[in-house]
Symmetry: C2
Subunit: 407 residues, 2 copies
C-alpha cells in the first residue's frame, strides 16, 4: 500500500470552517490503494488559552500536569477533523498519542520519541480508514502523557512517515513552500522546487515558519522525503530530500538568502589569549541559559585578543551583566554592545569549493557601500553582520548578485 502522511498546522485548522476545508482536501487525496495518515496540530489559540488557564492556577505548574492539559488541544482538533472527513463521506478515525502508541522518554514538555507501535494505525488503514493523529504528544512507560515540545506535530508526522515507510510526508502550512528569501523583504524571492536537508536546516530563519529543524533532522536521519506546501491552494511546494541536485555537481547552487535582525552583538576587548579563557566565558553565558549564535575571535596581538559574539536581542541585558562580571574576573578590557545589527546569510551546498562565492557576496555589499561588521562561514553558509539599517538592502543586493530572482 502506498502511504502518504500529511501534517496540518494550527493555522490550517484555526476554526471549524478551516477544518472543513482541510477535510475536503484530505478526501480528495484519498485515492483507492492509498493509505492516508493525517497529523494535526491544535487549533490556533487553543494551546495559548490552556496555558493561560494554568497560569491562573499557579505560576509554576508541574510539567507532568501541563502535558495532561495541553495535549487536549490536539485531541480536540483531531476529533473535529475526523468528524469533518466523515461528513464528507470518507471513513476516518482520530487517535491520541496513547492510542497510536507513540512511546517517548520521560522528559515532560520536550519528550523524545523512542518507539512507535503502529499496529492500531495499520489496522485502521487495512479497514480503509483515514487515520487522524493528534500531533505533538506521546506517553512514557508509566502511561503519563508527554508532549514533544515546539514543532512537535512536525516531529510526529516525520516519525510516523519513517515508521510506516511512507512515500512522502506532506507538511501543510500557510506559505507555498521554501523561498530563496523572505518575500516580505525581497519581493523577487522565488520558490524552490527542491532542497537538501542540510540546506533546509541552514535556511531555518526562513524555514522556522514552515517546519521545525528538529523534524528536518529526523527526516534526514530516516531519509523521509518532505513536501512543504500550502493548505490554501493546490500548488506544488518544495520537496526536501537527500537527493543530490544534478546541477550542483557543475555549478554552485546558492539556495537562498536569509535575514535576521533579532540578534545583538557583544565585544570583549583585550581578552588574555590563554587556554581556557573562551571556555570560561561561554560556560558562564550558557549557565545563564543564553544561546550564542556567531562567535568571532581575531588573531591575537601581544597576548591579547578581541572576542565578539551575538545573542538573541531579548537576552542582551542579561548577557552584558554576565560578560562584564566574567571580564573583570579574567582581567579583560571593556565590554561593548551593538544592538543595531542584522545578519545576512547565503546558503548552498558546495560553496566551500568555489572561492568566488564569498567574493561575490562581499562585492555585492561593497557596491551598495554597506560595511561588514562580522563574517562567519560554515560548510554550506556564509553570514555577514551589518548595521540593521543596511540589512534589507544587503539581503536584496545579495539575492540579485547570485541570480536567485531568475531561478
Amino acid at each position: 500500500m502506498k502511504i502518504i502522511v500529511q501534517k496540518y498546522g494550527g493555522t490550517s485548522v484555526g476554526d471549524t470552517e478551516r477544518i472543513k476545508n482541510v477535510a475536503r482536501r484530505i478526501c480528495r487525496a484519498k485515492e483507492p490503494g492509498v493509505g492516508l495518515v493525517v497529523v494535526v496540530s491544535a487549533m490556533g489559540g487553543t494551546t495559548d488559552e490552556l496555558i493561560r488557564q494554568a497560569q491562573e492556577i499557579t505560576p509554576e505548574p508541574s510539567e507532568r500536569e501541563m502535558d495532561q492539559l495541553i495535549s487536549t488541544g490536539e485531541q480536540i482538533s483531531s476529533a473535529l477533523l475526523a468528524m469533518a472527513v466523515q461528513h464528507d463521506g470518507s471513513d476516518a478515525v482520530s487517535l491520541t498519542g496513547i492510542q497510536v502508541g507513540i512511546l517517548t522518554d520521560d522528559s515532560h514538555t520536550k519528550a523524545r520519541i523512542f518507539k512507535i507501535e503502529p499496529e492500531k494505525i495499520l489496522e485502521s488503514l487495512d479497514e480503509d480508514k483515514i487515520v487522524i493523529v493528534a500531533g505533538f504528544q506521546g506517553f512514557n512507560p508509566k502511561k503519563d502523557i508527554t508532549t514533544l515540545g515546539r514543532g512537535g506535530s512536525d516531529t510526529t508526522a516525520v516519525a510516523l512517515a519513517a515508521v510506516l515507510e511512507a512515500d512522502v510526508c506532506e507538511i501543510y502550512t500557510d506559505v507555498d513552500g521554501v523561498y530563496t528569501a523572505d518575500p516580505r523583504i525581497i519581493p523577487d524571492a522565488v520558490k524552490l522546487d527542491k532542497i537538501s536537508y542540510d540546506e533546509m536546516l541552514e535556511l531555518a530563519s526562513l524555514g522556522a515558519k514552515v517546519i521545525q529543524n528538529r523534524a528536518v533532522e529526523f527526516a534526514k536521519k530516516f531519509n523521509v522525503t518532505l513536501h512543504v506546501r500550502s493548505s490554501f491552494n493546490e500548488v506544488q511546494g518544495t520537496f526536501v530530500s537527500e537527493e543530490a541536485d544534478t546541477m550542483s555537481m557543475e555549478k554552485v547552487v546558492i539556495r537562498g538568502v536569509t535575514y535576521n535582525k533579532e540578534e545583538a552583538k557583544l565585544t570583549i576587548t583585550m581578552v588574555p589569549d590563554t587556554p581556557g579563557v573562551a571556555a570560561r566565558i561561554f560556560k558562564t553565558i550558557a549557565d545563564g541559559n543564553i544561546n550564542v549564535d556567531m562567535i568571532i575571535q581575531n588573531v591575537s596581538a601581544e597576548g591579547f585578543t578581541d572576542l565578539s559574539f551575538t545573542v538573541p536581542r531579548p537576552e542582551l541585558v542579561k548577557a552584558r551583566e554576565l560578560v562584564e562580571e566574567i571580564s573583570r574576573d579574567i582581567g579583560a578590557g571593556a565590554v561593548s554592545v551593538e544592538d543595531e545589527i542584522a545578519k545576512v546569510s547565503i546558503v548552498g551546498v558546495g560553496m566551500k569549493s568555489h572561492p568566488g562565492v564569498a567574493a561575490t557576496m562581499f562585492e555585492a555589499l561593497a557596491e551598495e557601500k554597506i560595511n561588514i561588521m562580522m563574517i562567519s562561514t560554515s560548510e554550506i553558509k556564509i553570514s555577514c553582520v551589518v548595521r540593521s539599517d543596511d540589512g534589507e538592502r544587503a539581503a536584496r543586493a545579495i539575492h540579485k548578485a547570485f541570480g536567485l530572482d531568475q531561478e
Copy 2:
C-alpha cells in the same frame, strides 16, 4: 488505608478561582493515612462549547468521535485541579479514563463500566499522592475512548468507591444535601441527615440536581455510602446508605415531598378492554422515543375503559399525534389532553404498611379544596396529579401535614 472518594461537579470547578477553592478543600481533607481519590467533571460550559464546535462541523457527528472530543473537558479540569492541589503543597496526579483503567463496553456516549483496573491509582495512593480522576470517561477493549452518559462523573466516583472499598463517596454539589422538598417552593423544607438508596431514587425530582439515579443504583448494588454535600461550605450534608433508620421501625418516615410540573396528561376514552391493547398503545409511544411516567387504567365497564398517562410536556404534541392514530386503529374513542397539571408525591420507606399515609395526604389536599386528577402508588411513593395552579399549594400542605417542617 482509609480511602475517601470525592466528586466535584461542573459548577464546583466552573472557573479557575473555583478550582483553587476546591483544591484548598481537598488539601484540608488530606489527613495522614487517608487515601484521597477525587473525581471531577468538566468545567461548567466546556462540554457545551465542544458540542457546539462539533455541530458546526456536522449535524450528525459520529458517537466515537464525540467521545474523543468531549472527554477532553474532564481531562482539562482534572489537570488544572491537580496543578492547584500541587500549588497548595500536596502531591497530586491527574489521570484520564484510559490511565485509570476504566474499561467499558462499546456503547459510545452511554457506555457501561464493566471493569476497573485500579493498579495505577493504588500505586499513586501508596506514594501518598492525591489522585485526581477525569470523570465521565473510560475506554473500550479497542482502546477507543468512551463516555458514560448523563451524570457519568457520579457513576465514575461510585464505581471507584466500590472497587477501592472506600469508606465514603462524597458527592459535592451546589446545595447542602437532600431536602424534604424543594426549598424554592417550600421554604420550610428541611435537610435530611440520612436517607436510603430507594428513597433517594424516588426523590429523583429533587435529587436530579445533586446526583444521577444511575449512580445511586450503582451505590446500592455495591453498598457504597454516599455523602451528598455542598462544595461551598463545611456543613454536613445527607448520607445515603442501606442502613435502616431505627426510627422507621416504629413510625412511618416520610422523607420528602416532590413536585413536578414538567408533565402533561393524555386520556384515551372508550378503549376496548381486550388483552394486548395497552401493549400496542405503549409500544407505539415507546417507538416514538417518548418516556411515559404515570399510567392509570380504571376498572373496565361494559368492555371499555379509560386510559390516562403522563409524558414530558415537550413531547405532548408528538405523543398526541401517535395516540390519535393508534386510537383510530384500535377503535377507541376520543383523545383528550391536559397540560396544566402538576404532580405532587410523597416518598418514604414503609408507608405501604401504614394505611393512614395515603389518607393523610388526601385529607391535606381536601382541606385546601384541591381536586385530585390522578393517583398512583408504589412501594415507597404516592403521587397525585392536580391542576398546575394548585401544585405548589398542594406540596406545601402535604409537607406540613407530615410534619416535615419539624424534622
